[in-house]
């Protein structure tokens, strides 16, 4: 099915349903992600991509099915326990805390694994954040907030990163920086699930792409198949 060499499995999602009150958002998501793999979720707005990440973390009011993280069933766990299995999350709305300074935001998440970056390494990677570290979190520019949201989860030693629209609304030069960061993380051996509108951003970064529609996975494309399927992909994404 794919040219990807077999690797150990880090995440296996089976028949995942998610509900907000009466609304049924995910209708049985099935996906799996191997260690060191970079995978994207592609789909139109409202197709259930963000909800999939939230449901993996237990951030939806109700979810059923199975979410195995590193071989452990997490469907009955509270979200802080799930995260502590080694997950880092960068939410779509960035989630910078207004009442915390930039540095407090940066050091807020507790460590969830070994091998996280030191504060110094992070500041070398994002020099802007060093300059703005005393500023209130929400006084930062959009790009700085996005870097902060990324930097925040690099410190904690997570092995699996869930990144929701990290390039949304950012200037091309910042998107390039983030591209370098994500590539660097891949080289460090991190596993990632990315949600992206910007297909060009991820087409070279990701090993595989899951296509989501109406809360279901409808297709899966490997990096090698992209060339042959560009047209159908564009039709699917409505670009």
């Amino acid at each position: 099915m794919s040219a990807v060499e077999p690797r150990s499995e880090l995440l296996r999602v089976t028949d995942l349903h998610a509900f907000y009150g009466q609304s049924h958002i995910l209708h049985g998501i099935d996906l799996n992600v191997g260690t060191r793999e970079v995978v994207t979720l592609l789909g139109r707005n409202g197709s259930g991509r963000s909800t999939t990440l939230k449901a993996i973390l237990g951030l939806v009011p109700r979810r059923t099915g199975s979410v195995m993280v590193n071989g452990r069933e997490t469907i009955g766990m509270q979200s802080h326990r799930i995260t502590r299995l080694g997950i880092g999350y960068c939410p779509e709305e960035r989630g910078i805390f207004a009442s915390l300074s930039a540095e407090e935001n940066l050091t807020l998440p507790p460590r969830v694994g070994s091998g996280g970056m030191s504060l110094q390494e992070i500041y070398e990677m994002f020099p802007n954040l060093l300059e703005r570290r005393r500023s209130q979190g929400t006084r930062l520019s959009g790009g700085e907030q996005q870097m902060l949201a990324m930097a925040r989860i690099l410190r904690v030693g997570a092995r699996l990163l869930l990144l929701d629209e990290i390039t949304e609304g950012l200037a091309p030069v910042i998107v390039q920086t983030l591209g370098r960061v994500v590539r660097g993380l891949g080289e460090r051996g991190l596993t990632m699930i990315l949600i992206e509108q910007n297909f060009r951003f991820v087409s070279q970064l990701a090993d595989r792409h899951y296509l989501i529609e109406h809360g279901r996975i409808v297709d899966m494309i490997t990096r090698d198949e992209i060339g042959k399927r560009t047209d159908s992909l564009h039709r699917f994404l409505g670009v």
């Binding site: 973390l57 237990g58 951030l59 509270q78 979200s79 802080h80 995260t83 502590r84 999350y89 939410p91 989630g95 805390f97 207004a98 009442s99 915390l100 407090e104 050091t107 807020l108 998440p109 507790p110 969830v112 904690v156």
Partner: protein, 288 residues
């Protein structure tokens, strides 16, 4: 003239100290739990009663009571949060308000039943008896102690919340508890401990109040109404706001007693109405 004014201002400052201590706890609890803790007055009363009973039956003195009563009452608060309150977070905040209001009624009712309505006096500890004559007024030592300790405790809490790592968890949890939990912080445990801490602060104020006011089952219900006015004026959940407003309103009350005594009971609510008209989020509150 100056004697009457300074006397009333001192009373105002004392009352304000208690308003500040109590509304601080209310603000912390409201911030993280979104619960309007109507039992706060009853928990304050409980602190005073635990101190009084400890002295009466066990011979435990004021200084020990100042440490032990908040711990004991705080532990009760922790248990209450775990057994009952935490099950209501997913519902409308009104349910938490009703539950804590019910608990206040039960506590106050049982204490009235057991100890009667009339007050019990609690002696001023030996070290703090007496006072100084300033010429224009007599300054009782215990009252100075109350003001100093309240201000110190409030300031220490403000520092802890605004400047420490623990405080950054509390601020983040107040803003977005779901995201904080998604980062791996045990928010449910934090809520329980925060509630216990706020309740412990109320009990601490109760012990401090015991030698000044009578220890009575209804001492909390008389203060709780003013307290909510303080929290509304300061801005729901604002820590610095509730401290400053607590002290300020105590002084305004004292000043009103001097200028036109009959208005002193309503002046706080007049201020509240004005603030709500001009700044609905409170003096220090952020618009939600």
């Amino acid at each position: 003239m100056i004697q009457a004014l300074s006397g009333q201002l001192l009373v105002g400052l004392i009352n304000g100290s208690f308003y500040a201590l109590l509304s601080l706890g209310l603000a912390i609890i409201f911030g993280l739990l979104d619960v309007v803790n109507f039992a706060h007055g009853a928990q304050y009363m409980l602190g005073a009663f635990v101190a009084w009973m400890a002295l009466q039956y066990l011979g435990i003195n004021y200084w020990w009571a100042l440490i032990l009563a908040p711990l004991a009452v705080g532990a009760l608060g922790l248990g209450f949060e775990w057994l009952m309150l935490r099950h209501l977070y997913r519902l409308d905040p009104l349910y938490g308000l009703l539950l804590t209001f019910g608990v206040a009624l039960v506590l106050e009712g049982s204490f009235q039943n057991a100890f009667g309505i009339s007050g019990n006096s609690y002696p001023v500890p030996g070290l703090l008896q007496g006072g100084t004559n300033l010429g224009f007024m007599y300054l009782p030592r215990y009252r100075v102690w109350v003001v100093l300790v309240s201000v110190a405790v409030c300031f220490a809490n403000w520092l802890m919340i605004e400047k420490t790592r623990l405080g950054s968890y509390l601020r983040a949890g107040t803003e977005n508890p779901a995201l904080l939990q998604a980062f791996g912080v045990n928010v449910p445990l934090m809520r329980g401990l925060t509630y216990g801490y706020g309740v412990g602060l109320a009990a601490f104020a109760g012990v401090m109040a015991a030698p000044i006011y009578q220890v009575t089952p209804l001492m909390g219900s008389s203060v709780i109404m003013v307290l909510f006015a303080v929290v509304v004026i300061g801005g729901m959940g604002s820590i610095a706001g509730s401290i400053v407003t607590g002290l300020g309103l105590g002084l305004i009350e004292g000043l009103t007693k001097f200028l036109y005594a009959p208005a002193s009971d309503v002046v706080v609510f007049v201020v509240m109405a004005l603030v709500l008209l001009l700044r609905p989020a409170g003096l220090f509150g952020r618009q939600r």
